[in-house]
């Protein structure tokens, strides 16, 4: 019998895999930790401490950060910290819903267009048309047409981001549909549907995960941007973008109201980008710096 596993992993591929992990590891770890802290805090702090993001107390308005009001209070005397924590719910919820929907739609449509020529030309034209517009401008147009609401923000993000996922899925389907192992499986009578679902589609999951991570970060930014323009979830919902928007007037007198949500948006997006970069390096080191909006 020939010795099995002789060429299991050649030293060079093992080494390059190790290098990728060494480079990606710190990014994934730091990004993941920060994101986990943000998510856990927004989920569990309201359970542990009484939080009142809407409680107006005009006597306590515009107080700077202190031992009593950790991040100060806003123009209605509401706790900035409380609003920040609940704001995380809205921002993350919108981004998460948008990302999930983008994933489902993107994979389904990408699979269709990778598989069928006609679907490809229809879906392809649509995504090209969407990609022509600067993303944020299109988002504003969509929100202006549909009216400001949390759901409409989700829809806008999906419409803008889905073409990228479609392209990624389509590209890897086209790459792998003629792979030897797909041909071999086809030659022993495996059906088209199973070929697609079991052999071809899973190959796109790596790149798609990377893309979705960046999409998540981008969704947070879009939500914040739209809210800032008054097109996001309507006040008094304390989304991070809403908070910044409301704090504009007080940037000189009470800058903490704006700085707190600004910092949250920054570190959340940054941590997601770090995770995306790390994943990308793991999935395909050749793609460095090429994914993301």
């Amino acid at each position: 019998m020939t010795p099995a596993a002789a060429e299991a992993t050649t030293p060079s591929t093992a080494r390059s895999a190790l290098r990728a992990i060494r480079r990606a590891g710190p990014m994934l770890l730091s990004g993941g930790t920060v994101l986990a802290l943000v998510v856990l805090a927004s989920l569990f702090v309201p359970l542990l401490v009484e939080i009142d993001p809407l409680g107006i107390d005009v006597a306590q308005k515009l107080l700077p950060p202190s031992a009593e009001h950790w991040l100060g209070t806003d123009e209605f005397g509401r706790e900035v910290l409380d609003r920040l924590i609940i704001g995380a719910h809205i921002s993350l919820r919108v981004a998460f819903a948008a990302t999930l929907l983008t994933a489902v739609l993107g994979i389904a449509l990408g699979a269709l267009s990778g598989q069928y020529r006609l679907a490809d030309s229809i879906i392809g034209r649509f995504s090209d048309a969407l990609l022509v517009f600067p993303g944020f401008v299109l988002a504003i147009m969509i929100l202006a047409a549909l009216g400001p609401s949390e759901l409409n923000v989700v829809l806008a993000v999906v419409v803008l981001y889905v073409p990228r996922v479609i392209r990624t899925v389509r590209a890897s389907i086209i790459e792998f549909r003629s792979a030897d192992f797909v041909q071999a499986a086809r030659a022993v009578g495996v059906g088209d549907m199973r070929l697609l679902v079991v052999h071809i589609l899973p190959k796109s999951f790596g790149p798609v995960m990377v893309q979705l991570t960046f999409g998540f970060a981008w969704a947070i930014l879009v939500e914040a941007g739209l809210s800032f323009l008054g097109l996001g979830p309507p006040p008094p919902s304390p989304s991070w973008g809403n908070m910044i928007s409301a704090a504009r007037e007080f940037i000189r007198t009470a800058p903490w109201i704006m700085i707190a949500p600004g910092v949250m948006i920054t570190i959340t997006v940054l941590s997601l980008n770090l995770i995306g970069d790390g994943l990308r390096d793991l999935v395909d080191p050749r793609l460095q710096g090429k994914v993301g909006p």
Partner: protein, 349 residues
Amino acid sequence: MSRQGVAPGAGEPVLQLEGVEVRFPSPHGSFAVVDRLSLSVTRGEILGVVGESGCGKSMLARSIVGLVPPPGRTVGGAILFDGVDLVRLSPDERRRIRGDAIAVVPQEPMTSLNPTLRIGDQLTEVLRAHRPEMSRSQRRARALEVMEQVGIQFAGQRLAQYPHELSGGMRQRVMIAMALICGAVKLLIADEPTTALDVTIQAQILELFVRLQSEEQMTVILITHDLAVVAQTAHRVAVMYAGCIVELAPVLDLFDAPLHPYTRGLLETLPRRGASASKSHLATIAGAVPDLARPPAGCRFFNRCPHALAGICDAALPALEPVADERWVRCHRWRELPAVAAAAVGAAS
């Protein structure tokens, strides 16, 4: 043109190709990679199909199983398998035959298994496709049985392993097991099954083919560019050149007395022990296959043939004509050539 290539054959034919034509579109017009090819494969034989790269032998195989890669297409002819014309079947009917009654062993064992799926899942996938009534444990039992049959040791462990944990020879055995797992294979098409393997493993795999062929009473079409492989295993050989069969003969006759100049050329390219020292280089056939988008009017081997005669050989495509019992050749000058060749050998020595 019809049925000229159908050899009389001793037994009944299991597969009959009649004027099969596979064409690919190109900017210069479509070209036929398999050109009106007729051939009869007898039940229980091992038929070797030889020829250099690009002669159409792989496309012939793909045409039989209905997997000519687009934009190529089987545009004409009939492929009768047990009397049923495969060309007329629906895609799903053809899928049902693939892997069940007609199985294919691919060329590249290293890349023909999905690297992210366990061996067991890939083997039993064939049963899922063709024997949906079988239970999980039945599928597993059948997989173990067929793995034993193709000489895979520790079959139980192998089922849980990934392709990268197996050597090339072992992977090719897995591919053969996949081809046999339904247990109903009548025709096995092996497309360069040993090209990616080293010679010791190649010998083992070929031995396996010969054993399985007699055990399973199946017919084998063995496609290869390697005459040595054919010599070891095949009963009959079809030599292909530029989409056509140029010579069809029982294997011993072919090696003893090749008739077509192309076959001779192929045989001369085999390195020989004790070849004279002056011939330090390996023999080659000069030139390349003609442009199939504009096939020459005459013999397709004209531009490379040492015996080509202008006015005869480039005037018309020679027919595949019967020469002797079970021997066919496509050459205008085959009658004169043995003498010509003998004279050439005499002059050289």
